[in-house]
């Protein structure tokens, strides 16, 4: 059946590598374009926030990277589950590929958030804020998973440990997401809503509607690049890889 074929192909490193080569320029190109356009639009062509002034422009980096950092963790945890349940080696490669990208995005969300916090709240960081603390935890989770990968001589052991850690950490994601609703916090509650009308001003929202898909695409491209490295690492002794290298 077609769906089984697709699933089998997805588990084939050779097919995956070829698909990455084919799609990477488009995904990376479009993602970069969207991010650049939204950045220029947000920096120079929107009016400043009446309360926060021009510092609000950081939103066009902060929000997309934070959203994708969260989504990335879920995808990574799914890869972890697939690795444990079906013992698919590609799942382990995907896990290894996502971790550094997720870490980088979480880092950016934290740093841009801190920079934004200084003129807005007077402080770069507040320990009592649940969202800040849980996002920092997310960053440590990503780093921990990367560390587990490197900690073991036997890469299978490292893969297993990292997969388990990725699953254990998933409890953090809804905490990050709902923290601004559950606890009184300095961090602003959500203005982007799925089921009701968003409370953010339209003019401010528009570049964000380019930046968020742009960040998703950029994330996918970055993971594709890492995945190619993982595939090459695993498959370096195969014939098809040698042929690829000879081109």
């Amino acid at each position: 059946m077609a769906s089984w074929q697709w699933f089998h192909r997805l588990g084939s490193p050779k097919w995956l590598s070829g698909t990455i080569d084919r799609w990477l320029p488009w995904v990376l190109g479009l993602g970069t374009l969207l991010l650049l356009v939204s950045a220029v639009w947000g920096l120079a062509f929107t009016s400043p926030d009446y309360k926060q002034g021009n510092s609000f422009r950081i939103i066009y980096i902060h929000v997309p990277t934070a959203i994708v950092a969260l989504a990335a963790y879920y995808v990574m945890a799914v890869a972890g589950a697939v690795s444990i349940i079906w013992r698919m080696k590609v799942a382990d490669m995907v896990l290894r590929a996502i971790a550094p990208v997720g870490a980088a995005l979480t880092f950016l969300a934290l740093v841009t958030g801190a920079i934004w916090g200084k003129p807005t709240w007077g402080a770069y960081w507040i320990w009592q804020d649940a969202r800040l603390t849980s996002m920092l935890l997310l960053f440590f989770l990503y780093l921990g998973i990367m560390a587990l990968h490197d900690a073991y001589q036997n890469s299978a052991t490292g893969n297993r440990a990292a997969a388990i850690m990725s699953l254990v950490g998933t409890v953090n994601i809804p905490i990050i997401y709902k923290s601004v609703d559950w606890w009184s916090s300095l961090h602003q509650p959500a203005t982007l809503k799925f089921t009701e009308e968003s409370t953010i001003a339209t003019e401010m929202l528009q570049p964000l509607m380019l930046a968020i898909p742009g960040a998703y695409l950029f994330f996918i491209a970055a993971v594709m690049l890492q995945l190619r490295v993982q595939i090459a690492r695993n498959e370096k002794n195969t014939r098809w890889m040698a042929e690829r290298a000879a081109q």
Binding site: L35, S55, R57, A221, K236, A242, A245
Partner: protein
């Protein structure tokens, strides 16, 4: 453009250092996350190719 000239764009009414440092750091990190694995893959291909040639010469 919202700002009247490039000087104002740079200054951002006093928020310039915050906005531009945030965007600069982001640009650097996002560029790194693409460039580093791309370079690594090229290295890997070169290594594999070299190994192929070594075993063929024997």
């Amino acid at each position: 453009m919202y700002f009247n000239n490039l000087a104002e764009l740079w200054e951002m009414a006093g928020h310039g250092p915050y906005v531009w440092s945030a965007f600069a750091i982001s640009f650097i990190v996002l560029a790194a996350i693409v460039v580093i694995p791309a370079k690594r893959y090229r290295q890997q291909l070169a290594q594999i190719h070299q190994q192929q040639r070594n075993t063929q010469e024997k």
